[in-house]
Symmetry: C2
Subunit: 343 residues, 2 copies
Amino acid sequence: MKERKKITLYEIAQLAGTSKSTVSRVLMNQAGVSPETRRKIEQIMRESGYHPNQMARGLAGGRTGMIAVVTPGIFSGYYAEILKGVDVVASQHDVHVISSFARGEDDYPDMIDRFSQPGQVDGMILVAPRMKVFKQRAPRTIVPIVLVGSYAPDNGWDRMDRVVLNNAGAMNELLDHVRQQGCRRLLHLTGLANVYDFAERRRAFEEYLLLHPTLQGTVLSGGETRAQAREALDRHLDEQPESFDAVIACNDDMAMGALQALRGRGIQTPEDVVVTGCDDEPAAEILGLTTLHMPMVELGEEATRLLFERRAQKQISPVARQSIVQMALVVRSTSMRKPAVPV
Amino acid sequence: MKERKKITLYEIAQLAGTSKSTVSRVLMNQAGVSPETRRKIEQIMRESGYHPNQMARGLAGGRTGMIAVVTPGIFSGYYAEILKGVDVVASQHDVHVISSFARGEDDYPDMIDRFSQPGQVDGMILVAPRMKVFKQRAPRTIVPIVLVGSYAPDNGWDRMDRVVLNNAGAMNELLDHVRQQGCRRLLHLTGLANVYDFAERRRAFEEYLLLHPTLQGTVLSGGETRAQAREALDRHLDEQPESFDAVIACNDDMAMGALQALRGRGIQTPEDVVVTGCDDEPAAEILGLTTLHMPMVELGEEATRLLFERRAQKQISPVARQSIVQMALVVRSTSMRKPAVPV
DNA sequence: CTGAAAGCGCTTACAG
DNA sequence: CTGAAAGCGCTTACAG
């Protein structure tokens, strides 16, 4: 039944015995079309399997029907879940999602530049951009931008909507728990310094130590990948064995590297050393890793909601919105010293 | 230095003291422009921060500069890696990647239909489409399609390029290894029957049994998710305890579910039961899960290469290409009975 | 409620 | 090697 020839809005108008204008109105869901005409046009569109040419719509109407999600090149598996959340909301608006991986941190500004030009996308979501991006003034673009898990300095970036995590609060809760497990010498395994969330978590860790003088704390830089985290901890164990009784990693991936390092030396978890992560990646559950749960799909959805709200505004608003997504402590076996719960 | 007013090809032509045609030629990388003129235009484009309007290019030239990747709604984390591979190759061609998650298997045909209309994308990659998609004849579309990890029945789908895995060969290697570990009663934990790769692996499992009469084999359906796999194995253990000494799961996720079920009953791995997966997801390494390694980024890259080769062809070619990606056995602790190797 | 016309910013023959 | 003109398929005032 479906036409194979490419069919245009003009053809639909012909078949309906009306004009392009009217067909366009029903396509745009605009008022001012008689119910009867509308019904007829809708039926013809359906029967003919008509899909409007996106490129033409974009050019004529100034709306591309696309948004871009830019993620760092190196990623934890959870970026896929954020992407899925974005897709859920975007598809409700009949908008496609362009996914781009930044190649190095220098690539970020270029991508922003490119996407903020007219005729590219209707908006962009920047996931965990590296701090370096913010060295330059924020582009004064008509294309709305939403930041996810990100810094927002006052050289213009603070005008943008953003979705952030309650890093400090969640970290506090986590450290309270670790302390209750009897740990006193805490090692914070941090990641790249230019990742905003990592910096926040580190700061929360250090502030917690100030408030709890009975605790001893160290910060160890674990590099970028799981393997690097493992190596870093290995070296640390060579130099200062038994110097800590808890590893607080800045994310699950690094926590897993830590687990490997400990296991390799026969150090028991959680008996000798408690280990915690952050993110609650799929693998965390399996490993019994205590972590902070981040609702990743939600994160993507919320960012996209902000984007569409912004897009819907007629004029530029002076209000920047910020959504704070709560992470929740998930206690599992890597930190559970007291009662042995069956898995 | 950067212009904020939107700048068009026409402006570039003005600045260069030439015509739109000539500017378009350098944009399209076409021959027939004096080196001097080309250099000048390129410089002006760079200085003005010009990016051509994609919508206009798409409408005028018939090339959208986008390709779509459609993935199933429920996904293992590894789809993100495929997406990354796609992005790597696509960006070399200055093409953007639209990522779409199919909402249920009925959504697949609709998406294919929509994307294959003109003015949408220049090509599409279908990742692990459910078998149901192939019930209907393949669309006779000008938009090239590449199938990844997929069936290709002869009702038109066999005209398409595809990237597949050496499921049977790899499964054989895996089963040889399991047999060498002393296992004789094998339980195959399979996933949704409508996933091509799962069906292939199951077939390979059954054929292996036919060739090795000393082995005993069972196939257990593990549902769709890790949790379901765990439950399925739990029920099986209730009904027929100690009926197997190896679990051969159709992917890592289900293998992890199996590990949970076994652990919950105090059954030792690999001493009592050997467990294997497939895919080599990030979590597999941590868990010490024996699996078949799938080079996921490569898979995405190869699919995209096929797509661009097809796009470059002037006329429709009668040749359908098939790339077979080799999976390799990765032996880890869940199947290593003989020598205890240090992790 | 409806239609004719202009125009979005490019590419692509075509003519020179 | 270069330019003028047509046209891609829509949306958007504008006029009725």
